[in-house]
Symmetry: C2
Subunit: 299 residues, 2 copies
Amino acid sequence: MTLIECVPNFSEGRRVEIVDEVVATIAAVDGVAMLDRQSDAVHNRSVITFAGQDAAVAEGAFRGVQVAARLIDLTKHEGAHPRMGAADVVPFVPLKAEDMPACIAVAHAVGARVARELGVPVFFYEEAARREERRNLAAVREGQFEGLREAIRTDAARAPDEGDPAVHPTAGATAVGARAALIAYNIDLASRDLGLARDIARSIRERDGGLPKVKALGLALDDCVQVSMNLTDYRVTSMQAVYAAVQVRAVQAGVEIRRSEVVGLVPQDALVALTRAALKATDFSVAQVLEARILETLV
Amino acid sequence: MTLIECVPNFSEGRRVEIVDEVVATIAAVDGVAMLDRQSDAVHNRSVITFAGQDAAVAEGAFRGVQVAARLIDLTKHEGAHPRMGAADVVPFVPLKAEDMPACIAVAHAVGARVARELGVPVFFYEEAARREERRNLAAVREGQFEGLREAIRTDAARAPDEGDPAVHPTAGATAVGARAALIAYNIDLASRDLGLARDIARSIRERDGGLPKVKALGLALDDCVQVSMNLTDYRVTSMQAVYAAVQVRAVQAGVEIRRSEVVGLVPQDALVALTRAALKATDFSVAQVLEARILETLV
């Protein structure tokens, strides 16, 4: 059994009836668990989260792209967020670290089907990238819909991975990818020293030579300061690893960690990894979690 | 949604075809996830583990008791383990701490149905006990099948909670209960000093004034010693609490914890509790675990 998640972004965040139809189309697929939807009017963009067995999620993703291509017209789209397609990005996310290859396979299969059946060219990104330079989504989307219309035809370096080198006239192009689950994780310090939070953020984030797969900012809250983080691959740097790193630096400054906060959803696998580390329980596995066994049997 | 587990013990551990039929009968109930079965020939007893939504688990438990009452004859049963019924004990276990009341309700409903439809008298034990002195299963089962045949008729204190004061002629009586999930948890010390493991076990177990809901023994393994534990209510004493307690005592003796080991299955809730403690993530909840959300949507 391979449980995966899909978090597609669609270029519509204002007309709720269109987002409703995309959500309903995906949710109608047997075996799809619809988990979340978020629309942003300024970005004019919606993020939908669903999960299930790989085959069900693949079907849901395809149908979502299909209905978006029918309902969303990029030639009339404006919004603050960069975009190149009606279904702009379609990342598949493994719920267990070892299922990344399955997610890459699903990305490639769905991408090929989108190009073949819908006439929307597809670029593969992050772990599903077929060219190293396409791992980075920003590079794939450079110039956005308007710029890509020309570049995809004239620049061989911008030719799609699947489909003809021409954007769909209204649905543009879609980036299909595979990536690790992202964990949004914040640590509050028992201090109002924003400089300290910023210093710690700088010292632990990858951009400044800190921990790999960690993005971090220092923020001031009402009554304390916070190190606000995105862990883009908990297999590489886990919640307990950043907790320990922040703790060391806080203690050096004579400050305690007040609390920490997991924002949104995390895969069970991240908790199993934390249990292994916290208890030196090196052999502990997801297969020992009752709910994982129930999922395996009933879903 | 109320996911619960049931871990009935049946008085047959030698004739595999009978255990097969009990397992198949339970597994045939729609929505039941069959998780484990263990038979012991010396005990002449089998332990079956299944889970699902409360209604499905209640139906599975009833049908299991029904088929056991038909196939197992206590007048011909012998084995090392105390027993009083074909279906000897039927405990319901919540997967989330807050669902204990639901498990007690299921125990009472299934117990009433067993007495009414099968003519097997029922005693409620542990958290489902209706008399304080019946919390303890050993007290309920005193005298076993052979002794209870007489006592149930003549001693008002031994009258069942459901059904007539007479054992079923071949199926005996059944104890139906509710209890917290039991976690079997072992900690290996980097030492061959069995005395130390026994001292630590003694100092942390409830029986000798240690941590509540902890049973512990010191054992010698091939290359080290082990503190082997049963945590009978992880809500009261968690894995990380016993880990910390063992660590303090080991360090005092100049010994390190080598590793620890979770034996068998644990509910996700126990990992969420550990995450809260390890990261001071006080607001973290099961609802934030992706797999829990999928279960809620699809099961």
